[in-house]
Amino acid sequence: MKGNNSYQEIAVTVPISLAFGRFIDEESPVLFARALRALLDKAGLKKEEIDGLAVSSFSLSPDPAIALSRSLGMSLRWFQDISLGGASGGVSLNRAARAIQAGDASIVACIAADTNPKTGFKDLVANFSRASRDGVYPYGAGGPTSVFALLTQQYMEKYDVGREHFGALCVAQRQNAKNVSHAVFRDPYSIEDYLNARMLADPLCLLDCVMPVAGAEAFLVMSEDRAKALKLPFARVLGAIEHHNAYAEDHQPLRGGWRHGVDQLFEQAGIGHDDIDLIQTYDDYPVISVLQMEELGFFPVGEGARLLCSNTPDVQKRLYNHNTSGGQLSCGQAGAAGGFLGLVEAIRQLTGQAEGWQRDAARHALVSGYGMVIYDRCLATCATIMAAGDE
């Protein structure tokens, strides 16, 4: 298979994370406006200098996404609606980078935001797709937790692991969140706390599941020369892949599109697994983080959960450098913005802006995404390798 063209000369910069708590009444365009304002303030740009916009959201209805160009007062040469849930961040970056390389835009703002009124999550889940509405939701109305309970149970049965193996990952992520200013949950807990937590859908307990919240995440994509001229610290894109409905004939697939592209991804990046300092996985449920790490080659397939539970220095280091903001398990899931969380955190770390939780050795990061649970699987997968801009 022919690989992608390179992403050279592309800069990713200005990481923005805005947390608004669990429930808010403001509509999503307000959150987009706050995120755009934060991007402009931090970058020292005027709104008119941004000519590309990629947006991700589940809560813009009744507006189409393009309505944001009017409400935000932007005149754009390039626009994309990339509402791919947990894959929104990586796919937005891919498309924006190509637009910059093609000359279709000079600066692209990638923004994801979702509000969360009190019935927002239920309303979203009940009509998320025809297949989920007709084939999953009537069977108890557990939402995505029903689907991922079955996937987790399937993994546990197939690879003979227990809840405690997933618990280690959850405990480590909460530990990572203790100094993170935008995290919703920062108090550490023990593996005993995890094992005794309230069960939601066997084998998933409360601490396996992300809290729906309101929030916005954003970043800018531009040429390296432009970032340097603006004196913005930036990260480089070394490689990127995406694949959608990768195993169409599987049922309840315990694999995703990462496996299709992992060799191409590392070949394009020109580095190996040992060079990756940070891994940011999409962590709506711990089994999905494990699958991403396995399929992207950090653990043999079927051994990730067990190995992450071992107390060796290498594994402890890997957990410390995995989902360094605490992930969605600590920051909550702000709809499509949850799909930006890991990417924005990686930019923050690679540009030395994670004040209070900075990983000093962060030079290379891998960010993976998994989004849009439709019936028995998520359909959208992506992965991106980035390097610090001065690399």
Binding site: G135, Y139, H251, Q252
Partner: protein, 114 residues
């Protein structure tokens, strides 16, 4: 009693015998629109199972916990079903039937009668 949820039967394609679930009016394999609902009861194998201890719907909360499973049916599709009998195990052959539950008429997995 409020029953919000209705039954959706798997569909089989008259042209390629592909089975699609939930039904969608065309075959996911050959795209033919010549699909018909499959008859119940049908045989299946328990693929994965869980017990739901919470629900997003107020009308379901009084009936928790809800036991449910994914079941691989003839033709290869996987459906969701309520567990209608106690003691169903992974890999067990079951019958998929239509049963009334407090919150809807739903596909339900029961033991095969010997």
């Amino acid at each position: 009693m409020h029953k919000n949820f209705s039954l959706h039967l798997p569909q089989v394609c008259a042209d390629c015998a592909g089975v699609t679930y939930p039904p969608q009016g065309f075959c996911h394999k050959c795209l033919s629109e010549g699909c018909t609902p499959m008859a119940l009861p049908m045989e299946g194998v328990i693929f994965a199972k869980s017990v739901l201890h919470y629900s997003l719907e107020e009308q379901i909360k009084p009936y928790l916990p809800v036991k449910f499973a994914s079941v691989k049916i003839e033709g290869g599709a996987v459906i969701f079903a309520i567990e209608g009998d106690d003691g169903l195990e992974l890999g067990q052959i079951v019958l998929i039937t239509e049963q009334d539950h407090e919150f809807g008429t739903l596909l339900t997995a029961v033991k095969e009668k010997i």
